[in-house]
Symmetry: C2
Subunit: 328 residues, 2 copies
């Protein structure tokens, strides 16, 4: 029999929501502004509105809702604390807050947004062929998740996978947590754009300089577009970014012995412009015994893996309940 | 009822062997030269001799033997392949090789030596209070293990925990795998001694210069002895090493969300001379959300955790067999 669950991706700018079928994947999708500045009550109203809409569209019982959220998630996956970019939140029990608003009791499971994306990739995306892989999301920040034997590796308290804060140079530039040489200080959007602008200034004949004049900024997708057109500076910037990604992933492979990597987020659209140098670099940074079988691939489903993985939390919980009742 | 198993720590220089009681720990210990240069047959004879001796001393049935070994261990924990420092080995099935020599069938489980030490610390050493911790062994090289929920985290193929090859500076000095900025290129014995010699040359009034003249080298325990006597250069060297250790562990904590660290190996004897700066540094390199509850402590049992953990592999296997028969 098929199973239905709702997945929510709670972001600082928008809330994405989907009705997900275990058998066929996405059934319905919707999204709306988070209205984060109006505080937690409004954000929770907005989430509840989307969930209600999906429940009405479901042609069968909905088993529950999963939420991918920024911030600190407790071990039981019921609360989210102090999510960055969502002002005014302290600790919110999402099941209580949402059930009350929806008017029916709903089991709600929360997971770190990067972990939810990893789980989505594992079951519906590029990670499907692998039992274990590292997911890295190159967006505004650098997010990460460890999928181990088809599950999220959560660490001791649910916070594992912070690839963006791993250092690759202890004397390097600091990220927004003041960590020297954190990978986010190279690959995070703001940092990469700043690096690209510096590189462009040094090569006045690069088309990137026109882009800066027109757009005022060098967002990663604009660098990628210039690279597609053969702009040498743009190519070098993406190669530079790939090198930093390869160093980071090399460290992660050494620690985890998980040799498959799925890359998502906006910058992953640059594909082999980044991945080729990442693939060359990662081999240099991995111990001999772990070099075989390393793969770095792109997540083509983009942000969809976030809502899919969030919904999958519910399916996983159902499986666990069945397994433990069989064990009794 | 008590359980007995044999633990073996196979090193390039010596083989250590112990009879271990699940209830009381070490019962008997013995060690001998590995005679690695004489090839695998002699080494296996030497291992079998020690195991036989322990079996004769056991006042009850021995459930099996666990071996901590360098080299690549297969997923089933039966074979070891191409251990560095053991010339002439290809892939050896240890159960077969040892049972034949001992004259009775013996279940033999192999694990990476650093992982065995981690497991020993978890059940008999400094790691006992923690469900999950990172073990780092500062010896000739820098070894590591991840203990997660009282088990070895093995990664996808049994090779996880290579902390020594994680980079902390992608443009740093290379280790013996040519990895730039690998932690072993700072903290491995040879590298640390070379750094210490350079530091000593720059401070002619340091007592370390006398040590170099007398001993020809600056082994870590000599640096530690000078630090105890208040030699400023020695103190700075150990602080420098602690800083590198802190950077490395910060990266590992970000990835794993495992905030307890047990440090073993020869250099760990330097204790707070290293750990104080490691503790300060690790906080700078860990993302805000994971900074609480970080601990770095010393493994006081030294090399004993290697044989204890190896024996514990056997106890763990017995537990698993019981658990799976209950589940039937």
């Amino acid at each position: 029999m098929d199973q239905l669950a709702i997945g929510v991706d709670l972001g600082g700018t928008s809330i994405k929501c989907a009705l997900v079928s275990r058998r066929t994947g996405l059934v319905h999708q919707a999204s709306r502004d988070t209205e984060a500045a109006r505080g937690p009550e409004v954000v929770l109203d907005n989430m509840a509105g989307l969930i209600k809409m999906m429940m009405e569209r479901a042609e069968g019982p909905v088993l529950g809702a999963g939420v991918g959220s920024p911030g600190i998630i407790n071990w039981d996956r019921t609360t989210v604390s102090e999510p960055p970019n969502l002002p005014g939140w302290k600790t919110v029990h999402l099941g209580e807050a949402l059930s009350g608003r929806i008017g029916v009791p709903l089991e709600v499971l929360v997971e770190n947004d990067a972990n939810a994306a990893g789980l989505g990739s594992a079951h519906y995306g590029a990670g499907k062929p692998f039992d274990s892989f590292i997911m890295v999301t190159l967006g505004t920040g650098v997010g990460g998740a460890i999928i181990y034997q088809n599950r999220i590796f959560r660490g001791a308290s649910g916070g594992a996978g912070e690839l963006g804060h791993m250092t690759i140079d202890y004397e390097g530039p600091v990220d927004n947590h003041d960590i020297p040489g954190a990978s986010e200080a190279y690959l995070g959007q703001r940092f990469l754009s700043a690096h690209a602008a510096r590189m462009a200034r040094q090569t006045p004949d690069s088309a990137l300089n026109d882009t800066i004049r027109e757009r005022g900024d060098l967002e990663p997708h604009l660098i990628y577009q210039a690279a597609v057109k053969g702009d040498q500076t743009a190519l070098e910037i993406l190669e530079w970014a790939g090198h930093k990604l390869g160093v980071l992933l090399g460290s992660a492979v050494n620690l985890l012995d998980i040799r498959k990597v799925v890359v998502g987020g906006g910058l992953s659209a640059a594909g082999d412009f980044i991945f080729e140098s990442a693939r060359t670099t990662i081999r240099q940074f991995v111990t001999h015994g772990l070099r075989e079988g390393i793969e770095i691939i792109q997540e083509p489903r983009g942000n969809e893996v976030g809502v899919l993985g969030a919904a999958h939390l519910v399916f996983e919980r159902v499986d666990d309940a069945v397994a433990s009742s069989v064990g009794d």
